[in-house]
């Protein structure tokens, strides 16, 4: 008779549950064991259904935590319906940031050269996550010379914004003096933060910002989720 696999009907049932709002975005679904009991099947059958939903981008599973409804209510874009374009110059000003860590430590070789410091000089470091529509799109780290900006961490904690924090510290304006871009494979932790699978392509960006006098004030590294971000370089105006 009906040759629809059980897992498919379970997937369909879950899909309608989500579509009808019985599980909102970000909500945790019942555990696989609970779903298995509810439908009277083995856990693996439920997993098959969940994996189907995950492929469609409807849910996102976190090992040890549960399965969550993804913040992607609409279906996939064909063409340019959904545009996650972020301009390079605006990459430090995207609204929706979360602070992961604010630390103070010694500068390594690369950072020292970029900021015009000596190796071992103290730097303030801002680790954060850029979000758009609730979805993580970039994982960044901003490094500032501690001697020049002793109070920038509190400014960052208050504003969440590199630009505003630098303003508080006396830098009215700054310009990006260099940007380097390459493609990489996501590491395990990057994948975790960006809700990707390990090895997924990411856009790796390294940049230096300087004050009007050309003195470097910030050394920033960002990892963008390749599938969710397109960098648009406007060589003209804008």
């Amino acid at each position: 008779m009906s040759k629809t696999p059980v897992w498919k009907s379970i997937a369909l049932s879950l899909t309608s549950d989500i579509a009808e709002g019985r599980y909102g975005t970000g909500d945790r679904l019942p555990t696989e064991a609970q779903l298995a009991a509810k439908h009277g099947v083995n856990r693996h059958t439920v997993r098959r259904a969940l994996s189907d939903l995950a492929d469609q981008g409807l849910v996102h599973a976190r090992r040890g935590a549960g399965v969550f409804v993804a913040a992607r209510p609409t279906d996939y874009p064909i063409g340019k319906r959904v545009r996650y374009h972020r301009s390079i110059s605006a990459s430090g000003k995207i609204p929706g940031k979360t602070i992961l860590a604010l630390t103070t430590r010694a500068a390594d070789e690369v950072e020292a050269e970029a900021l015009g410091l000596n190796v071992g000089n103290t730097v303030h470091v801002y680790d954060g996550l850029s979000l758009a529509d609730g979805q993580p799109i970039g994982l960044f780290q901003s490094v500032f010379p501690a001697e020049r900006f002793p109070d920038i961490l509190t400014a960052l904690a208050d504003t969440h914004s590199v630009t505003k924090a630098l303003q508080i510290c006396g830098i009215a304006d700054y310009t990006r003096i260099s940007t380097r871009l390459t493609a990489r494979a996501a590491t395990a932790t990057q994948a975790l933060h960006l809700h990707l699978s390990e090895g997924a392509p990411v856009l790796y960006s390294v940049g230096i910002n300087a004050d009007p006098d050309g003195q470097p004030v910030e050394y920033g590294r960002t990892v963008f989720a390749g599938e969710r971000v397109t960098l648009t370089l406007n060589d003209g105006d804008n």
Copy 2:
């Protein structure tokens, strides 16, 4: 593929932090809770990573006090640093190119919009491979409006260069009016051309070049081998 446990990746990150001098001998690391927040994991996962470092004798923890750097790693594997910098403004002009195909066909929707044509207008297409030091670094496709440049294919065949071919066709100079960049996974054919494995991260670039009057003359798409190419944006030359 490589199912790296998250804790291992965190351990590696901490190891490099120590190896590169961001935390010196005797320094206290951030607390387990802070590290957990920074990496977006549970404290126990961080503890697993720290226990790994402790086993290696890199750090030692004191209950109630914190985790301190005991020594520097003696053999820290530094990844092969590839330094192939290519200017984004030169991404369509890299020397060492081989022609894969010169074709004439109808413009699709995207190309038509980019070049200011109608869908179905004829375009000349240049498929090629960019090389550096004998190694393939990019796979590109340049699309030109056939009506405006009827003889560009022969010019391309002679010069192998987009710039020179456009010069022959009467375009003394052109500027890049838009560039979009994202990271993707290499398809099978791209991997073949670029000597990568399928799924390896590649840098996908789409750009439009226009004559001094702002009229689009070329629509180019390039796939760069992520592990061999770093795009350097020179924001300072204006």
